[in-house]
Structure formats: C-alpha cells, structure tokens
Amino acid sequence: MATLKENISFKLKEKFPEINFEISEFREEVTILFNKKNIVEVCHFLKEDEELQYKLCEDITAIDWAKRGDRYSVVYHIFSLKNNTRLALKVNVDESDCSVDSVSSIWRTANWHERETYDMYGITFNNHPDLRRMYMPEEFEYYPLKKDFPLLGIPGSLPLPKK
C-alpha cells in the first residue's frame, strides 16, 4: 500500500508537472513546500480532487525565520475528512515581497486565519475580502510575533482609549 507521501507526490506531479514540490516527512507528517505563486491552484486541486478531498482547512499561520533569506514561511494545515489524513503546505515569503495570494476563496475559514497571520506577521494576503487586524487595535503599528518585536512590548505603542 502506498504511503500518504508517495500517493500525494504522485498525484501532485501528475497534475502539476511544471511545479517543483519538495515533499518531506517528519514524525509521520507530510509537508509540501512549493512556490508561493502556485498556492491557489494547488489548494484548489487538493480540495476538489475526488480521491483527496482536503475539505477542512484547520489552520494557517506563518513562521518568522529571522535570519534566513526568505524570511517567512506561511504554513497551511489541511485535513481530509474522507481519508482522515492531514497535510501541511508550506510556501516561502520574502520580506521584499511580503504577500501571498489568499485562499479564502477556497476555504472560507481561511478568512480569519489569514487576518490573524497578517496581524501577527504583517504578511498581506492578496484578494482577501476583509484584511483587517484580528487581535491588535487598528492603530497598532507593529507586528507582535515578528522576532524583532521585543517580548516586553514597545512602550507607548498601545495608546489608552479616550475617556
């Protein structure tokens, strides 16, 4: 029986021969790394494919690697209710072009996850219907989960509400 990794890699290479997928496995979890410009079509395929059916988007977040060339990775965790398998998709985002295409047209739940990622890392999501900050006030100028944001916060960055 083919493992999840083999199965996914076969299906993706068959469908997208021109895209370079880096598929890795750690603790029985499969992660697929590819170019960020293909994110929407790959997600659409994974959701709509008859055999895979990754219908549930569990989580979207980003990682700040601080010193690496492509500073951020945006990570998507998706789950197939049909096969009970989980998949992590990963795209690298550079600081100079800090944006990814939004997948909220594919999974509606991505809306808030992407807002949270934008709020915490400042990564903008193109074509997002309502890209506002999720937790922090709109006036807040910083992105708290970036590695260069100090743990103690920045004094005066959160103004008290008007009386």
């Binding site: 549930l56 989580d59 990682i63 965790h77 509606r108 739940t109 808030w112 743990l151």
Partner: protein
C-alpha cells in the same frame, strides 16, 4: 447599552459592516437601519466578545465580531520559555476545561520529542480529558439555558461541575488551573480516593442530567428559542471550519478521537454523536448526549486502567521525580540540565490536534533544536467557531443573538489566546 458615537467604532469595522453581503429579504422592513454595539462587556457574550450589529428594525442585517480584548500574546510568550514552562499557560486557554488543554499540549511536545507516556498515564489523561469534557459541556448547557431564560438549569449543571472540580482537587491539588500533565506523563498517580470519587460521580451523574433535561427538554419556551435558530448546513460548517459539537450538530460525523486516534481511544468503544438539523437545539442535544458518552468512556477507562508507572523513565527528556532529585546525584544533574537548558527536541515541526470540548485544539510546534520552541501556534476551536457568527446571525432577530452565541459556546480565553 449606551449610545454609540461615530468615533467609538473604527471606520474599518463600519466598512466591513457595510460591505457585508446583505441580500436578505426582510418582511415589513422598518427601513431604519442602525448600528448596535454588543460587548465586550455583556453578560451573554461569555467573556469579552464584541459584536457590532447592523440592524434593520429588530432584524440583524450584518454583524462583525471583534476579537482581541483578552489577547495576552501566549504564542509570543511560548517562544520565550522552555517547553515545560508553557504547561501552566495552557490552563488559561480554555479555562473551562484546563485538563484537556494540558493533555493536548503534552501530547504535542511528546510527538515532537518522539516519546510516549506509559499506559497508566495515558489512561489517566484520557479519564481527565473526558471529565473535563463533561465539566465544560455542563457549563455550556447551563449558560445556554440561562441565556434563553431558564435560570435553574445553570445552578443544577454547576452543581454537577462542582463535583468534577472536587475530583481534580484530590487528583492534583488544584480546582481550576490544574497543570496536571507533565511531558512524558502526569504529575502524580491518581490516588485511590480520586478514582473512588470518579466512580461515585459516574454512578449518579446520568440521573442528575435526566433531571435537568426533564426541566428544559419539554419546556416550550426553551425549545422555541432554539429550534431552527442559527441553522448551518453540513457543507457550510466544514467550509467555515467548525469543529467539535458545533460541527456534529450539523450532521457531520467528525471526531478526532475517532478520525486520528490518540492516547488509547482506539481501545475504547464509544459513539460519535451527531444531529442532522444544524440549529442551536441540535448543538445543545449533541453536548448533552456527549456527556453521556463520556460517562461511558470513563466507565471503560476505570475497568481497563492498568497499574504501573505514570511518568516515563527517560532522564534526558523527562523531568525526574522530586524525591529522586533530592536523593540521587544523576537525577539532580538531569533536573538541572532540563530546567536550565530545556529538553532539546530534534529540528522539525509537528502539528498535533486533539478533540477538546469546544472542538479541535491543535498545537503547531516548530523546533530549531533548542530548549524553547521557535514557534508555537495554537489552533483554538473557539476562534474558528466564532467565525460562523456572521452567517448564523444574518436575518435573525436581535434576541436570537444571545441564543446563537450560547449554542456555539465560545471561550474567549482560547479565542483570543
């Protein structure tokens, strides 16, 4: 609720309200639209949820939930402390079921480390997470009933919950913020008194739940406030990312205990409760039946629980017992190393999710080989479940807002992290 001036609502929220898709037909529209602010301090929003409603007469045309009033930055704090130090903070996520959060986090770190707790510890963990599920659902049922006007139930369900808190008191010395799990096991073995109390609790629980249900299940006011209110179809529920009882109330048989078994759930016989209607009443029924199912699980756990160690014997990864630290050199050294430099998991990243009372609680841990996580992302069920609020509220009356929020059972400590 005091009158809102234009400055109180951020222009972007107003814009989101006005941009929202509002193609609903309102019979006898009053044609006097207004914007109403509900929360963040409102008894029916279960904490500090703020909902900005756009109303036409009494009908909700659009709504924008505003989160972040309880944002404490736990993800940032996790990056600055060792894996072990974060356990007490998981108590403060879903503060109605701290035990299951502890279990979820311990499982995530163990997966990253590549270790597994001894069987007895796993059974104890399963027992506490099922009891936590009962406790959390009891609060959910009680506060939902209170939101729609049946006050007695709240007192009765909290009385039952009190008994579970007493069990935790015996088990780990704390009633609310338990921090009972350790990486590689649990803090201490379940004493016989605690197990006896669990046994007593499950014997008398169902009778008491029946009593509560007799009060509300035939109560016409309660049923009519919930029946057909806040309907969401199965496809929409998956699309919007609902998990837990809210998803199963829409007829989707998805439960992580069954879908991706963790701990020893594959040895346990239980049913995944679903109701097809997808309305607030169905979500209430799912919760009530799930507590019965949890009782069944706890009964099996008590029968099957093996004897043995409750903490893994892996000196480089698991903190040794306190008595050993004080009496042996080796253990003292290991304790010093783990406390000061942390357990150093291999470079890698894992996502581990468990079925919490509210839904799927996931931890995404990224390790760069050091003693503290490079990143810790908390996928909290309440956060995602709240996203369905605009859809559920659209076209309903303003009095349904409290019923729908109550049926989703959000906990803001978790939604805001």
């Amino acid at each position: 609720m005091s009158k809102l001036t234009k400055d109180d609502v951020h222009p972007k929220i107003i814009k989101a309200l006005l941009d929202a898709d509002t193609n609903i037909t309102v019979e006898d529209a009053l044609e006097n639209e207004m914007i109403l602010n509900m929360g963040p301090q409102h008894p029916a929003t279960h904490g500090v949820l703020r909902v900005v409603l756009r109303l036409d007469g009494e009908t909700v045309v659009a709504c924008v939930p505003e989160l972040g009033y309880l944002h404490r930055g736990y993800e940032k704090m996790a990056e600055n402390m060792s894996f072990m130090e974060f356990i007490p903070h998981t108590d403060r996520l879903d503060y109605l079921s701290p035990m299951s959060n502890n279990v979820a986090y311990a499982l995530a770190v163990e997966k990253l480390l590549g270790i597994e707790a001894p069987p007895r510890a796993q059974y104890i963990r399963m027992m506490v997470s099922e009891l936590a599920r009962i406790a959390s659902h009891l609060v959910a049922i009680g506060s939902l009933a209170m939101d729609v006007g049946a006050l007695t139930i709240f007192l009765w369900t909290l009385r039952e919950r009190e008994k579970i808190l007493d069990i935790w008191d015996i088990l780990c010395g704390a009633r609310f913020t338990n921090s009972y799990t350790r990486i590689g096991g649990v803090a201490n073995d379940a004493p016989p008194e605690a197990l006896a109390k669990v046994k007593w609790f499950i014997e008398q629980y169902e009778e008491n739940l029946d009593e509560c249900e007799r009060l509300i299940n035939t109560n016409r006011i309660f049923i009519e406030r919930l029946d057909g209110v806040g309907v969401i179809s199965a496809e929409d529920a998956i699309e919007i990312g609902l998990t837990g009882p809210s998803l199963r109330g829409s007829g989707v048989e998805f439960d992580l205990r069954r879908a991706t078994p963790y701990l020893k759930y594959e040895e346990i016989d239980f049913k995944v409760i679903t109701y097809p209607d997808g309305d607030s009443l169905a979500r209430y029924f799912v919760r009530a039946d799930e507590t019965r199912e949890s009782i069944k699980i706890v009964r099996q756990i008590l029968d099957k629980m093996p004897q043995g160690e409750t903490l893994l014997n892996q000196p480089k990864k698991v903190l040794p017992k306190k008595t050993e630290i004080y009496s042996r050199m080796e253990e003292l050294i290991h304790d010093f190393m783990i406390v000061n430099f942390g357990v150093n998991p291999p470079v890698g990243e894992i996502y581990s999710a468990v079925e919490n009372p509210k839904g799927e609680l996931g931890f995404y841990l990224v390790s760069n080989g050091e003693g503290h996580p490079w990143k810790c992302k908390i996928r909290s069920p309440s956060f995602v479940n709240l996203q369905s609020l605009p859809q559920l509220l659209k076209g309903r009356m303003i009095s349904d807002v409290v019923a729908i929020i109550g049926s989703l059972d959000p906990v803001m400590g978790e939604a805001d992290k």
